[in-house]
């Protein structure tokens, strides 16, 4: 694909993304939809239900422990895949 066509497509995609930032919430708004549904419950209950003051660790290891387990298995699979693709036995 030559470079002029790539530049035109990139500018079109960039234009659409710029147009869609008009409907995003303001930077640092406390009432945006990402911060009002389940994350106040995590912040308020993390010291009472698990005695861990760090909210990030308690969400990562306790409230969302399944995601961390499968992500550990993803990086294990990547290590095995690189071993199998590259090492040759003599």
């Amino acid at each position: 694909m030559n470079k002029i066509a790539a530049l035109v497509v990139t500018l079109m995609v960039g234009g659409f993304l710029f147009y869609s930032t008009a409907s995003f919430p303001k930077w640092g708004d406390p009432n945006q939809p990402a911060s009002i549904h389940v994350s106040p419950r995590y912040i308020e209950k993390t010291l009472a239900e698990t005695k861990v003051p760090n909210a990030v660790t308690s969400v990562l290891a306790d409230y969302r422990g399944y995601d961390t387990m499968f992500e550990t298995s993803v990086i294990f699979t990547a290590g095995i895949a690189v071993m199998m693709l590259l090492r040759r036995s003599r």
Partner: protein, 124 residues
């Protein structure tokens, strides 16, 4: 108009990074440069998600144990995007490792990393 420009300038920086990565993936000829374009694209998406979770006047989400009953969620920034992006960073490292392995195998078989020479060798 000025208020619109100033309040959302962080999203524009990420859109510019997305455009740089996207152009690099499409227009460059060398396979290694395409891979670096994909990496720039991926990291700009991670930065975008992290910038969503900030709150004006909030602090680091490590809760002071001395004020136990009176914790308000408005004092601390949102920990959820940070947690999800930790997983995304590790998956990105795994993807980059495997992509570099595939590049080594392509180089062993064809002797070059330029895209047009590989396509010509494939047609024969």
């Amino acid at each position: 108009m000025t208020e619109f420009l100033i309040s959302k300038y962080n999203y524009w920086i990420y859109v510019i990074l997305i455009m740089i990565g996207f152009y690099g993936m499409m227009a460059k000829n060398n396979l290694m440069k395409k891979l670096i374009g994909m990496n720039i694209f991926q990291w700009s998406i991670i930065l975008f998600y992290i910038s969503i979770g900030s709150k004006k006047g909030g602090t680091v989400p490590v809760i002071d144990p001395s004020l136990h009953p009176a914790i308000r969620a408005i004092d601390y920034i949102n920990p959820l995007p940070h947690v999800l992006m930790l997983t995304a960073i590790v998956v990105g490292v795994a993807t980059t490792g495997i992509a570099l392995t595939l590049l080594i195998l392509v180089y062993r078989k064809y002797g070059t990393l330029e895209e047009d020479e590989i396509l010509e060798a494939l047609k024969k």
